[in-house]
């Protein structure tokens, strides 16, 4: 190779390296942006974030979670990035991962301007997270397989002899919102009674499936007569015209109510765009976003009264009775519940 050519190549490599260094220092991108990690389904979150971009001019870069990673996706990513955070905001479709991230030092306190309009227990006393618009655990019944009046009404009907076990389904209770519900039962009944309940469920031979969406699909297709899932899954099946009916469980006198699972929003400690993060948090907690999420079918149990103009895509459960448990009480039982349930159901 000629010396001149070699020198030119070295210069090119040097230039590329300098550009790379500049880019890594963030000097190459002066545009305002915010990075959000969200476990809310992309079909719901994307339009909300696009509207935010239009309103504020702040570019949103989102990373979406998927059910298939069994809740070890984005939360683990946030933990592994703790020493050099890339995300600014964590918008979670439930609350336990948020509490766990707070405990692991991944989150930072933020200002929640909408806090006044939210229920008192929906805002962390230390300001690390705020909750809004919820989903609920429901029983999804196939109306072609179960006659009116014969429907199950309680989670405890999983043990009822009236329903053959191979016609009932639930997701693995170590993952996702089914594990949140299990932790809630552990907090409500006590560990021994809850363990006994789930042991009986396993012993009965209830169909344990890969996720809430699989329960929904199998009930909708008639492969199962009924199953436990979330309101967003159930509403999706209803919207698509499947022969199904949604029942809020445990609503009778003396029963504990169903588990309400709100969205949570938090700021990531050390995130690269703190100002934009605060703007996005304020936006996500606004009543307009909650109303939009109700109309889109992601929220069925809103956290505050909505304007009469809001047209829910599915039945809104404002009259639904939720479990009287604090988020923290449920979180404290999560590890015990998951460890127990793993040994009960994964055999």
């Amino acid at each position: 190779m000629r010396p001149a050519l070699r020198l030119r190549n070295i210069a090119r490599i040097g230039l590329l390296a300098a550009l790379w260094l500049l880019a890594s220092c963030g000097l190459a991108s002066p545009e305002r942006r915010v990075v959000v990690y969200t476990s809310v389904d992309q079909v719901y979150a994307e339009p909300i974030l696009q509207k935010f971009e239009q309103q504020t001019g702040i570019r949103v870069q989102a990373v979406y979670d998927v059910e298939a990673t069994k809740t070890v996706g984005l939360a683990q990513r946030l933990v592994s990035e703790k020493n050099n955070p890339r995300a600014d905001v964590f918008w979670n479709g439930e609350f336990l991962q948020t509490l766990s991230l707070k405990e692991q030092g991944v989150l930072a306190p933020a200002t929640f301007s909408a806090a006044g309009a939210l229920p008192a227990n929906y805002v962390d006393p230390q300001g690390y997270w705020a909750a809004f618009g919820g989903r609920a655990r429901v029983i999804l019944v196939n109306t072609e397989r179960i006659a009116p009046g014969d429907e199950p009404a309680s989670t405890f009907d999983l043990l009822s002899e009236a329903y053959p076990p191979d016609t009932i389904g639930m997701a693995y209770p170590m993952f996702g919102t089914t594990s949140t519900e299990a932790a809630a039962f552990y907090a409500l009944l006590g560990a021994d009674a809850a363990r006994q309940f789930y042991q009986n469920v396993a012993r009965r031979g209830i169909r344990i499936l890969d996720g809430n969406s699989v329960v929904r699909d199998q009930v909708a297709s008639g492969q199962l007569a009924w199953g436990l899932t979330d309101t967003d899954d159930a509403c999706g099946a209803i919207e698509r015209g499947a022969p199904v009916k949604m029942i809020f469980p445990n609503q009778a006198e003396g029963q504990p109510g169903t588990l309400i699972i709100p969205n949570t929003v938090a700021r990531v400690a050390g995130g690269p765009n703190p100002e934009a993060a605060q703007t996005l948090i304020d936006y996500l907690l606004s009543p307009e976003v909650e109303a939009q999420l109700v109309e889109m079918n992601w929220v069925q149990v809103p956290s505050r009264p909505l304007p009469a103009t809001v047209k829910p895509a599915c039945a809104v459960g404002s009259e639904v009775r939720g479990m009287q448990l604090s988020f923290d009480a449920i979180y404290q039982m999560l590890e015990t519940a998951r460890t127990d349930l793993r040994s009960i159901f994964v055999r």
């Binding site: 979406y64 298939a68 990673t69 993952f175 499936l209 969406s213 929904r216 297709s221 793993r342 994964v346």
Partner: protein, 537 residues
């Protein structure tokens, strides 16, 4: 006799050393980060760590069940693959290209296959008034269907490297069916064994399909451990039995490979004239063909039907153009880099005894749960100085390479060890230069294994989810991430449209690769000609 033809030029040695180093970094980097965490946990609580790494009771049962399930899947796929290839040979060379068609289905995630088969079996059961089957054997069947393209690929790669000259000689004395079982299959058995090992591993690390049919596996238990503890170290320790198993499987395959080496004519049917089988074997092949047709028809029919009834193929495609582009860039880049790494590994194969041990180690990441690879990569690359790299689409490429490049390397080594050592020696003696020999002689001899490996990496990269999700740059997503997101939402029509798109584009990419390979191998002096001249000696 082992291969002795090695590049001696300093530049080539330097280049291969750098590529070896790069391979090590790419493959072992995430593993090293996890090993550090695992070692720390072991020192902190040795009893707990050992109980995780050495399963007993419930976990031992899960492990045994997973081994049994994966072994059944590998054997079934191998048997069906051999039957399919034998049937394809009867059609002669004119329709030979069609035998590669089923490989396209490898780009569709196994879970989609499982959903399609589940729906079909349920409808069939309703029609017959029977109870829909579940459990172990249903799980074996559906997983075998999802991985059948790999089985056909393994059978093609194995059986079609048997020299036609050997088959010609045997056909003088025996009927074709006898030649197949006594000459062709034994000669191909090392490659078939290694390929089956790879299918075994792909099945072993997947929990989604078995769990759909109510079968719990060891891979699921590792996820449950990870989900409960949020500790990568504990999840890594729980993966140790899988690591040991993978070493056993691959070491066995390597041992077999060393036992046989002969002259290959890769990618060409060993039967110069279409074979004639016995009626019983013809009937068996008929079953194989029907199953292979079902493997394509069931998911395709479901996908076509769903996308037809949905919002439309074009709308679906338009909504995912960015994801589609990113997926193909990642898969293409990963396939090219793994091809380069595999070539380097095959070139230096056997130079030192220690290389063989290093080769086994290269396969370890295949047994690590995908999210752990992602976490290892984040630990390695998420630093202030490497921010630009960490925020780029290179990270998913690194994730895919860490997971699947060893498979391409395995195939390249398998191909290398199949070549008669005399050919390597001849190349060394008659070479004009090292570079010339590497480019015009050794590379063509290795090409089938390299192309098969790169194709496998390409197809698997398209479906990768667990590691990519941890390191995908914010604001960008792959097609598989979008598919799984829509799967949860319940938009079956969109999922179907996206899967169909992926399959069709893989078909196009596969066709282009095949055409390029055919054009490249056409000039005189190709290995085919060398091989034939060697045969006649």
């Amino acid at each position: 006799m082992r291969s002795t033809a090695r590049p001696t030029g300093l530049a080539l040695r330097l280049a291969t050393s750098i590529l070896w180093l790069l391979s090590g970094m790419l493959v072992f980097g995430p593993l090293a980060a996890l090993l550090g965490a695992g070692g720390e946990a072991l020192l902190r609580e040795p009893g707990d760590a050992l109980s995780l790494a050495l399963p007993s009771g419930r976990q031992a049962t899960l492990l045994l069940r997973s081994v049994a399930l994966s072994a059944c899947v590998a054997l079934l796929d191998l048997a069906l693959g051999v039957l399919f290839v034998c049937a394809a040979w009867r059609f002669g060379q004119r329709l030979a290209w069609m035998r590669w068609f089923p490989l396209v289905m490898l780009a569709i995630p196994p879970y989609i296959h499982a959903l399609a088969w589940n729906a079909m079996v349920y409808r069939l059961s309703l029609w017959l008034g029977a109870v829909p089957p579940h459990g172990f054997w249903m799980s074996v069947w559906v997983m075998a269907m999802a991985l059948l393209p790999a089985g056909i690929g393994v059978a093609l790669a194995g059986l079609e490297t048997v020299s036609p000259a050997l088959v010609d000689a045997a056909r003088i004395h025996h009927d074709d069916t006898t030649v197949l079982w006594r000459i062709v299959v034994p000669l191909a058995s090392p490659l078939l064994a290694v390929g089956s090992g790879l299918i075994f591993l792909l099945s072993f690390t997947d929990y989604s399909v078995p769990s759909l049919f109510g079968v719990n596996t060891y891979a699921l238990d590792i996820f449950a451990e990870f989900s409960a503890s949020h500790s990568p170290a504990r999840a890594f320790l729980a993966s140790v039995p899988m690591l040991l198993l993978i070493i056993l499987v691959l070491a066995g395959g390597q041992r077999l490979l060393r036992s046989v080496a002969h002259l290959p004519v890769p990618g060409v049917s060993p039967w110069r004239l279409p074979p004639r089988w016995t009626p019983a074997f013809n009937a068996l092949q008929g079953i194989g063909l029907i199953v292979a047709a079902g493997q394509i028809a069931v998911p395709f029919a479901m996908l076509l039907w769903l996308s037809w009834t949905g919002e439309g193929f074009q709308t679906t495609l338009q909504s995912a153009v960015q994801e589609l582009r990113l997926s193909f860039i990642i898969a293409g880049a990963a396939a090219c880099v793994s091809l380069l790494l595999a070539w380097t590994l095959a070139e230096t194969r056997g130079r030192r005894q220690s290389n063989r041990f290093a080769v086994w180690l290269l396969f370890l990441p295949a047994a690590i749960p995908a999210p752990l690879i992602g976490i290892g990569l984040a630990a390695l690359w998420n630093h202030p100085g490497t921010g630009a790299l960490y925020d780029s689409a290179l990270m998913p490429v690194l994730a895919v390479l860490a997971r699947f490049a060893p498979l391409a390397m395995a195939l390249a080594i398998a191909q290398h060890d199949r070549v008669d050592p005399l050919l390597w020696d001849a190349a060394r003696v008659f070479q004009a230069s090292n570079l010339h020999a590497a480019w015009r002689i050794r590379l063509p001899l290795l090409a089938p294994g390299l192309v098969a490996g790169a194709s496998l990496v390409f197809a698997l990269a398209l479906g990768e989810l667990g590691a990519t999700l941890i390191v995908a740059p914010p604001g960008q997503a792959t097609l598989t991430m979008r598919i799984y997101n829509y799967l949860h939402y319940g938009a079956s029509d969109v999922v179907a449209g996206l899967c169909l798109t992926m399959a069709l584009l893989t078909l196009t990419a596969g066709a282009l690769s095949a055409i390029s390979l055919a054009l490249w191998r056409r000039p005189p002096g190709s290995p085919h000609l060398h091989a034939q001249s060697h045969d006649s000696e």
